[in-house]
Symmetry: D2
Subunit: 202 residues, 4 copies
C-alpha cells in the first residue's frame, strides 16, 4: 500500500514566520503521524487569501482551491486551531465554511467527496475552551463526511485566567504527549482501514 498522506491546516491568527502555538501543536502531531508511516505537510490559513463564502472557488484571487486540493489529496486532515473567546478561531470557522460546499460535491460512488478520509482536531489556548472547540470542529468535519478515530481530539490550555502559551512551555506535558501519540496511531489505523475498505455506496 502507498504511504498514507496527512495534511494540516493551522488556523492561527498570526502569519508566518512568527511562531504559532497551534502550528507547534500540529507539528508534534505530524511528527507522530510520520512515525506511523504517514507522509505529512501543512499550511497556515492566514498566509493565504481565503475568501469568505460557501463555494469551492470564490474567484478574485481566492486561494482556497489550492488548500482544498491538498485536503482532497490527503487521507488524514488535521485542523489545528487556537481558542479565542472560548471558540475556534475565525480562520478555523472559515475553513469549515469553505468545506460546506463539499457536501454537494460527490466522488465516483456518488458519496460526498470528503468520505473515506479521517479528520482529527488539535486545540491550544492560554486557558479554557478546548473541549468546546474540539466539539465544534469535530461535528462540522464529521458532517462533511470525515471519519473521527477514537480520541481524535487533543489540546493544551493553561490554568483559568492565565496567559502562558503552549509555545512557551519547556516541554510537552506527559499527558498531552501521550494523547498526541494515541491520536496519531488511531488516525493512521482508521485511514488505513478506509483505504482497504471504503464506505459502501447506496
Amino acid at each position: 500500500m502507498e504511504n498514507l498522506k496527512a495534511f494540516a491546516l493551522i488556523c492561527s491568527l498570526t502569519p508566518s514566520p512568527e511562531p504559532s502555538s497551534s502550528e507547534l501543536m500540529a507539528n508534534h502531531i505530524l511528527a507522530e503521524l510520520s512515525k506511523n508511516g504517514v507522509t505529512t505537510s501543512s499550511a497556515r490559513v492566514v498566509d493565504h487569501n481565503v475568501a469568505p463564502g460557501v463555494k469551492t472557488d470564490m474567484g478574485n484571487g481566492d486561494e482556497w482551491p489550492g488548500l482544498r486540493q491538498r485536503i482532497l489529496d490527503a487521507d488524514i486532515f488535521l485542523l489545528s486551531t487556537p481558542i479565542w473567546m472560548g471558540h475556534p478561531s475565525s480562520l478555523a470557522q472559515r475553513v469549515v465554511e469553505r468545506l460546506d460546499a463539499d457536501l454537494a460535491e460527490t466522488n465516483d460512488q456518488d458519496q460526498p467527496i470528503m468520505y473515506n478520509k479521517v479528520a482529527v482536531v488539535s486545540v491550544v489556548g492560554n486557558e479554557d475552551g478546548a473541549h468546546k472547540t474540539v466539539a465544534d470542529m469535530m461535528q462540522a468535519l464529521n458532517d462533511i463526511g470525515f471519519t473521527v478515530p477514537a480520541q481524535g481530539g487533543t489540546y493544551w490550555v493553561g490554568e483559568a485566567m492565565q496567559a502562558v502559551d503552549f509555545k512557551d512551555l519547556d516541554e510537552v506535558p506527559e499527558n498531552i504527549a501521550h494523547s498526541i501519540s494515541m491520536l496519531a496511531r488511531n488516525a493512521a489505523h482508521v485511514a488505513k482501514s478506509l483505504k482497504v475498505a471504503s464506505y459502501p455506496p447506496e
Copy 2:
C-alpha cells in the same frame, strides 16, 4: 429599599455533607454579594428529588416546586455547576429543563415570570470547559427571562488534563477573586436597577 435577595443552586453530583467545589465557588460569590448588601441562601440540587420533566410540578414527591419558589423569591439567581465531559452537569441541565415551564408562566404585567431577575453563572472543574458551560447556562437562563450583568460568569479550572479540584487550592487565585468581586457588584447593581424600574409591559 428592602434588601436584595440571592439564591444559589449548586449542581454538584455529590450530596451533602461531602465537600463540593461548586458549592465552595458559590459560597465565595454569595459572600461577595453579602458585602453588597444582599441576603443570600443556597441549596444543592442533588440533595433534593428533582424529577425529570418540563412541568413546574411533576408530582410524586417532586421537590422542584420548593426550589423554584426560592428562585421566585430571589432577585439574583446563581447557578453554580461543575464541568463533566466539557459540559454543565446533568443536574444543571435538569434545572434549566425545569425552568423551561416558566416561559409559559406570567407575572401581573403578562411577562414571563422570571423577568426582572438577574442570573449569574459559576463553573469549576479539574480542567477545561468553563466558557462553554457558562455559555450554555447563560443562554438558557437569559432565554427564560433573566438579565445577565456585565461579566456575569466566573470560573476556575486547572491546566489541561490535570486533576486538582478548586476545593484543593490553598487560596482563590487573585484573578478569580477579582472576577468574583466584579460579578457580585455588577449583579447587585443590575438587580437594584430592575427593582427601581422593571421591564415595561407590551
Copy 3:
C-alpha cells in the same frame, strides 16, 4: 463473522410506555441497522434508576451497571436525545457522566475499554439545537474512545419557535430518511472494520 450488535440509549425525559420522539428516531435508525445485518436493542434511560456520579457503579440500587454492560456487549452505541433549552437532555448528560469512569477502565490491550466501538448520535426537538447537541455528545463519546463514522449524527427539528414533535409527523421527511440510511450503513461499515482490525496497542 458473528453479527454486529447495536445498543441504543434513549434519553427522553418521558418514561415508557408514553410515546417518545427520541425513541421513534432511534427505532428508525435501529431498523436501518437491521437491514445492514446488525442485531439491535434499546432502553430508555428514564425507565431506570441511573444515579448521579462518575463511578461505574454508585451502589444503592444504581441501575447504570446493567445499561453499561449492554454498551460493552455492543459494537455500535446509539445515543438518542431530545433537545431542551438548546442542549442534550439531562439524561443524555447523565449517560456521558457515567461513561467518564470508563476512561480509567482498560481492555486486555491496555486501551480505554470503549475502544473498537462505534458511536452515533440522533437528536429530535420541536425546534433548533440539533447540531450543537450532536457536537456535545459526539465530542464526549469520542473522548471516551468511541469512533465516529462519516456523518454519524442525524436529527429532526421543526421551524424556529414551533411546537410540532417528530412523533407527530405523518412520515419521516425524505432528507432525514436519507441521512438515517447513510448513518446506519456507515456505522455498520466502521464497526465491521474495527472487528476485522482493532486499534493497535501502544
Copy 4:
C-alpha cells in the same frame, strides 16, 4: 436624556449590495429599537477590511478601528449573524476576536471600556443552530463587559435540512415578530437604566 444609540454589525458572508438575511433580521430589530426612541445605524463586516488579530488596530489598512468606534459611540450593540455548519459565521467570530482587546482597555472608572453598554444577538439560517450561535456570541460579548437584557437573543431558522432563507419568507412569522419586539423593548430599558446609573467602580 439624549436619545439612546444602537449600532448593528451584520456578519453575513455576502458583500453589499447583495441581499442578506442577517441584515434583514438586523433591520427588523433596528426598526423596533427606533420605535423605542433609539437612533440606529449598521454596517456589514464583510464590506470592510477587518484584519485577523487581537489588537484594537492591526495596521496596514485595518478597518476595524472605525467599526469599533461606532460600537464605543453606541449604547446598544447588535450582533447579527448567519449560521454556517451550526456556528456563528467566521466574521462574527472575527468581531469577538477583535473585541478581545477591549478587555484591557478601561474607561475613566477603571472598568473594561465596553461596560455600561447592552448587547443583543440575532441569528438566521436555513436550518438549526440558532440557540448555540446565540450562546457563543452572548457569552463572548458578556465576557467583554456588555450587559444582556432579558431574552436578548432572537432568531429564525427553517425545518431540519431545508434550504429556505429568512429573506425568502413572505412575512416575519408571528412568534419571531413578538420576540423581536420584546428584545428591542428590553434592550432599550436596560440601556436607559445603565445611562441613569452606570456600574459602580471597585
